[in-house]
Symmetry: C2
Subunit: 183 residues, 2 copies
DNA sequence: TGTACATCAGTGAACGCGCGTTCACTGATGTAC
DNA sequence: TGTACATCAGTGAACGCGCGTTCACTGATGTAC
């Protein structure tokens, strides 16, 4: 049965939101169209009135997940708080609501051109954002860009490492060491 | 038809080697038993005389991939050469022969306990190895362990970032920035 | 404002496909005599 | 050393399953008069 235009628009947004969360939690391959649709209260058939294919959804979901700049990081003096939140035990556990880059950078290298391209653009945007914030708004120069890259890579690498150790003690040691190295 | 014991042993080792390479290249989910067996010249049925399940193969393959210490890193003065090789364009491209941690740390978080446990052990071993090498053989203390963790996380994060950008210029900028930050 | 009709979001059965795993069978290996 | 037989690595058909995608159909929406 048909549904009002505004409801349909809500469904589309909800599909993107569900995909965005589920993809980060389980990866692209382990989430099916039916699962995403069910999350929103629809059947898999309805999905195809909103997106032409799963790949198209992945591309849009990447944009959704990475939209906006790193949570609340506006300038260099915010960095410590941002790093503390990023390298927290909560972020280690909450994959579905967490960083898309840490969650998906292992998957995207093996995906199609369209997906790789969307992810690459998001990374460029992220690095630009960090370089700018670390320069307190002044235009980025090479040194600040290098610091932005270092920060991004350390955060992602540290979070991935922490997510992959089973010992809580080692996990916390990793988080502390990475926080210290970004001070 | 049956095959000599030594041939069978070779087949087992070849299956592990093929799996080790293919898993790093494509991830656990995108490599099938039939593909691995075919790589060795066997059919999928033969696989099950060597391994009870795909999961068991994954566990053993993780051990295979991560066996031995970080390529040639024996002491702190080797670090620069190791870092240069790790953060090289060749390593960005050659995923199947490259670092298992960069290739699979995104996947393993979503896998079974047995796989997570094998991967976690490998990471602990890796960090221990780095902490020891960076201390030039002397017993590791907290500061050296922290430096080992920072090095490992930066290498993995930097490689993943470099693998995920489509622009060659940005890729090289990332590799340079990460090499500089580990000097 | 009320009616008639075209539109189209959503349903659910069906499709082809690839996957991990099982199993009856084959025939070379390797052992017991 | 030679023969008879048990073992077991490897084959290939078959299984159940979940997936992405298609499509005929439904019925509420929204538009034209």
């Amino acid at each position: 049965m048909k549904v009002s235009k505004s409801t349909a628009a809500e469904h589309r947004a909800a599909l993107l939101a569900a995909a965005s969360r589920l993809f980060r939690e389980k990866g692209f391959d382990k989430v099916g169209i039916a699962e995403i649709a069910a999350e929103v209260g629809l059947t898999h058939g309805a999905f195809y009135t909103h997106f032409p294919s799963k790949e198209a959804l992945c591309v849009e979901a990447i944009a959704t997940m990475t939209r906006g700049n790193p949570v609340g990081l506006k300038a260099a003096h915010d960095l410590d708080a941002f790093v503390a939140a990023y390298l927290s035990p909560q972020h280690v556990i909450a994959r579905g609501d967490g960083c898309a880059f840490a969650a998906l950078s292992g998957d995207t290298v093996r995906e199609t051109e369209a997906i790789r391209s969307a992810f690459s653009q998001a990374i460029e945007h992220l690095i630009d954002g960090f370089a700018e914030a670390l320069g307190d708004g002044r235009p980025a120069n090479a040194a600040r860009r290098a610091r932005g890259i270092k920060t991004v890579a350390s955060l992602i690498g540290g979070l991935l490492l922490a997510r992959n150790v089973t010992s809580v003690g080692l996990r916390d040691e990793i988080l502390s060491a990475m926080k210290a190295s970004l001070r």
